[in-house]
């Protein structure tokens, strides 16, 4: 099974590399959305610093949802998903491999870009570390929860629109906790509890979300 997990991870990364222009869309989207805020709200440094955590996190949610639809779509359409189900490997672990690959190509770039976004939004330097940490803990949760929605909407022709309606409400707790952690730093309050909550959320999602996604995928294939 570990060999199949690694083979699938390697294949998905290779496929993502073959279509690297598509990888740029969520990243470019994130940059555009965040850069619109100073233009729309005005470049007052104090105001921008105050809204920076929320803006960066909401942009990260939007960018994730944009990239999510491709998570299982091509495997579903070309019949690879049927082969996965028939392979005898646990579908849960196959799903987990796909989610890891998705996070590496769609979630990790958001984390890596966040220092640049923080400068644009005039986020105080002392908050930057916690901002990166919340994204590091939070974006995998977005991929994991999103995979359930993708599995459920896979057999619909225009599943992407329904997908955003399905997953955004589930993203709300992540958004609240993550932005609260960053704001706590700016306000000089303790933020450890928020990071603890995010970590607990990540552990819960890694444990449970692949089971739900696998069940959803089986429904979509039948």
């Amino acid at each position: 099974m570990p060999a199949a997990f690694l083979a699938l991870l390697r294949r998905d990364l290779l496929l993502a590399f073959r279509r690297r222009t598509e990888l740029l869309f969520p990243v470019a989207f994130l940059l555009v959305v965040v850069s619109l805020f100073p233009l729309g709200i005005g470049p007052g440094p104090a105001l921008l610093a105050r809204i920076a955590p929320g803006v960066i996190w909401i942009a990260a949610l939007l960018a994730t949802v944009i990239s999510l639809d491709g998570l299982f779509r091509s495997d579903f359409e070309d019949g690879t998903l049927e082969q996965f189900i028939l392979s005898g490997h646990p579908l849960t672990l196959i799903v987990l491999a796909k989610i890891v690959a998705h996070w590496l190509v769609a979630g990790l770039p958001l984390v890596l870009l966040s220092p640049l976004l923080a400068i644009w939004m005039n986020l105080p330097m002392e908050s930057l570390g916690v901002m990166i940490l919340t994204l590091l803990l939070g974006t995998p949760i977005l991929s994991l929860i999103g995979s359930i929605g993708v599995g459920l909407t896979l057999s619909l022709k225009r599943g992407g629109q329904l997908l955003s309606l399905l997953v955004f409400p589930l993203y709300v707790p992540v958004l609240i906790v993550a932005t609260a952690a960053v704001m706590a730093v700016s306000d000089g309050l303790p933020y450890g509890a928020f990071l603890g909550l995010l970590t607990a959320g990540l552990v819960t999602c890694v444990t449970l979300a692949p089971f739900a996604s696998a069940a959803a995928l089986k429904i979509s294939v039948s």
Binding site: A7, R19, G79, T80, E82, Q83, L86
Partner: protein
């Protein structure tokens, strides 16, 4: 290897095919024939476990099952050899050399081409590589001869013959005229809504 007892499948409360029963022993081939829309693909998908039968049951004691259907399960953005390497590593049961398989499939000349640039017949051959790389006892083949040229049809018959003589079993659905030589006299002929044996 496969015992099917009165399975049927309904879609929107209309039966796709009437109850089907058969027993498939090791080393045997079951040919499912019939006109378009009579339920051949649906039967194969039920046997593969993708669809649940509306009634009846089947038992399968094959170690693993291989399926080649209308959706070939190959990636357009990978080359032929990369597709086969992934199938081998993912199935994890074979140490076969993918280069040999490529040559057996008659794809030696295009092994480094992306699958999207191949013809329909070449793509089919690439998907059939799954059968050579795995060691599944039961094969479920849905129209394996479609898009293939004369030589490709011969290739399918060849690998089928060696699979069956090695003790494997196969359910093969086809609407075409070609019949593999292993086809026995008691094969199923599905007629929409009814079964003639």
């Amino acid at each position: 290897m496969l015992a099917v007892s009165k399975i049927s499948f309904e879609r929107y409360f209309e039966p796709v095919f009437q109850p089907v029963s058969f027993k498939l022993e090791a080393g045997r081939l079951l040919l499912v024939t019939g006109a378009n829309g009579c339920g051949k693909t649906t039967l194969i998908r039920v046997l593969a476990g993708f669809l649940h039968p509306s009634a009846g049951a089947y038992t399968c004691d094959a170690g693993s099952t291989a399926y080649v259907g209308h959706h070939l399960g190959i990636k357009d953005d990978l080359s032929v050899i990369e597709n086969l390497r992934f199938m081998r590593d993912f199935l994890g049961v074979s140490s076969r050399n993918c280069k040999d398989v490529v040559i057996r499939l008659g794809l030696g000349r295009v092994s480094d081409q992306l699958a999207r640039t191949l013809s329909a017949g070449q793509r089919k051959r690439c998907a059939l590589g799954r059968l050579l790389l795995g060691n599944s006892e039961l094969w479920l083949l849905d129209e394996p001869y479609s898009n293939l040229d004369q030589q490709g049809v011969g290739l399918v018959d060849d690998i089928l013959t060696s699979h069956l003589s090695a003790g494997g079993a196969c359910v093969l659905a086809t609407h075409g005229k070609h019949r593999p030589e292993w086809a026995s006299s008691h094969d199923y002929h599905l007629v929409s809504g009814a079964v003639e044996c």
